[in-house]
Amino acid sequence: MSEATAAISEREQFIATKGRRKNTIKCDADSIAGCVSQRACVYCGARVVLNPVTDAIHLVHGPVGCANYTWDIRGSLSSGSELYRNSFTTDLREKDIIFGGEKKLARIIDELVTKYQAKLVFVYSTCIVGVIGDDLTAVCKAAASRHGIEVIPVESSGFIGNKSAGYRAACEALLKLIDPVDRREAASRTINYLGEFNLAGEAWIIKDYLQQMGVQVNTVFTGDSTSATIKGAAKAALNIVQCAGSMYYLAGKLQELYGIPYQQVSFLGLEDTAQSLRNIAEAMGGGELRAKAEVLIRQETDRVAPIIKGYREKLAGKKAAVYVGGGFKAISLIKQFREIGIEVVMVGTQTGRPEEYDTINELVSDGTVILDDANPAELERFMTGQGAHLLVGGVKERPLAYKLGLAFIDHNHNRKHPLSGFDGAVNFAQEVYSTVCSPVWQYTARQGGV
């Protein structure tokens, strides 16, 4: 298997080992035809970013599959509307492909808007819409004026790029929704929180920290957001960006259009959480805010550090492999693993950017394998070759890890506990401990079982 993998020389540029040679890894390129890529498409990228907008109708214009596979998969929580957890599709049939789907789309928007009294509809374009040439923009515009609501087309035909292009399409859709505002109206102590999807209620944890510092969250992009909160996004004094892969573009645009500065944050692990809170306090004027941030950080750190130390002792010497969507998350995970005494021996991403790979390369120890858009065979080869005990990944990686007798943490849509902030750091340590130190591994061949 691994010899055969090596045969594909094209893939070698996407893999590097720290310390052995110059580490400019190739990334941000299209996958090779015939590979078992773990990557998704433009539509998937757009949908996962926009789906947490809770009071919107998310209507997928295409055959049934695209809507079905993304139906409530994110685990984003809502404090209000549950409308986003439904699956709406135009369910295109053969005759729609031949005669065009515009009329059907218009009809379905009318039906849904009447039924659910929604203020906002996102209409997602899929592969086939790009090919049959439906004019999504025109249909949406007409529907919007018919109903006096927002009907926003999302240009997410699957073949126009990879998931990153979908993030961009989602950002474009969000920009269309935001009301322009006079900067003098900006509230001084409010921020937008970009690239946070409220999985397992993570946004709520961070909102609470910020509130304790005297900072209000204006809207989150897009966890537990609504059409109303997003419309008012231009009023914030600062944007903080967590999932950079999906939201850099939006942050840049909001700066350009409305002069809102932005900074990157991470709330994974004690170190990054504390640093991010300090940075936010500084960016908003320091002084009293900074003092409040320090109190919060001290209180919380004092509370959780002993618990994490307990786990660190149990986990010392274990090795982890990381394969996640974006580069920034990978960076945070490397640091967070260090906090619990675990070294990262393999790290890869689906859509990491060159500068992120540079940072990863600086962070990891010699011998760590770094790879972009890996296939399962490569993951296997390097996880076992590097002696990892644990893999952090998404849905498709979980059964692969288990088959190899490796522990696993879902750091994607299927996470079960919030992993953000101080409590999230404890949850993370707890999850790592409960999988790495589970008795089930005793029975696997890898550990000397039958």
Binding site: C35, V36, C41, N68, N86, R93, E94, I108, V395, R446
Partner: protein, 462 residues
Amino acid sequence: MLDCTPKEHKERNSGGAINPAKTCQPLGAMYAALGIHGCLPHSHGSQGCCSFHRMHLSRHFREPAMASTSSFTEGASVFGGGANLKTAIKNVFAIYNPEVMAVHTTCLTETIGDDIPNIIKSTEVPEGKIVIHANTPSYVGSHITGFSNMTKGMVSYLAEATLPVKREQVNIIPGFVNPGDMREIKRIVKVMGIKSIMFPDTSGVLDAPMTGKFTMFPQGGATVAQIKDSGNSKLTLALGRFASSDAAELLVQKCQVPATTLKTPIGIKATDALLVALRRAFAQEVPYELEEERGQLVDIMTDTHFHFHGKQVGIFGDPDIVTGLTELVLSLGMKPVHILTGTPGGAKGSVTGSFEEEIQAMLASAGVTANVKSGSDLFTFHQWLKNEPVDLIIGNTYGKYIARAEDIPLVRVGFPVLDRSVHSYLPIVGYRGAMRLIESISNALLDRADRDATDADFELVM
């Protein structure tokens, strides 16, 4: 959805789906292809399709689901995907080295009109390796149609009639069921003393044991040699009209293998029908082992029937499974009042009637009336339940929203089950499968009775 569904029922003519009860063809094609030993399914389309299908299968089976993709780009969709598929074929054999590569199309490649057979013919395939294909336009039928089409593709590419006299063996086309079901059907046929070829056969592929090693191509699956030899069999049993009858029909035409289409063997009646068909064709007595199982099942049914009698139930899912479940609950004296599938129409080329007609006939002979609909969605199902509540829902995981909103117990059966485990290992078919279903159904009803009982009504023995 929770409480987003209004009770008031209005006729919907928009043609869209709200909370669909089906998914698209390529997923079914991928699942079927995984039932060939040493096969890598290949999705000819954008990489998102492949990724979604693998994710969905992985979530249901909790196993790796391997498949490659043509990774379409804008250029490919303008100029055709021939070059991508050719590169893909070359790379798949160079990197993963499967025995078979099973190509299925997507809505994109169907619409741009890629001529798959010609592309395959004009590409060099390594000696001894095979590329098969199925056209699976996502905008026709459902995942069940895709499963059927890929199974048909296996026959059209592989099956051969090479012998003057047919062998004493039966082909079994199991339909879109779990590996645990396929194992159980094979066991029953083996106990009958009859040699069988099952295809597709995902047992040993999507329920492979944990060995500490990742194998791209686990030990299970129907081998190419077996599928070839299916043309020499004496009989084909197609289990489930929607998923299996087209392939069986093609075997009749191509290799003159007689075919019988039966219901998916869920419940006592359908399992009896399977044994009767085998006994007749192969002049075999039903051995005591199976008689004993049947006797145990009847024993269980009589022991527990009073729990079930008159209980109202709503069933949704894939047509072959729903048909079997309906027959099973009727045999227990339950009253199915809402029966729905997302898959549209009747099986292509099938001589029997549509899903709705078949279900209505079963209901009529039991003297029961119900809402029955094919090609529908869970919004409709939910509205039915709001207007006529039931004691129990049987369906896949997507029923959990409705179950919660209406506070009705849900027994998870079918595809996909994303929130419970072990289901794919244990059968719902055969006499043992029926026992398992009866256990699940009665546990759900009795757990609910315990939960709802006042202290005064709470009983130890039930």
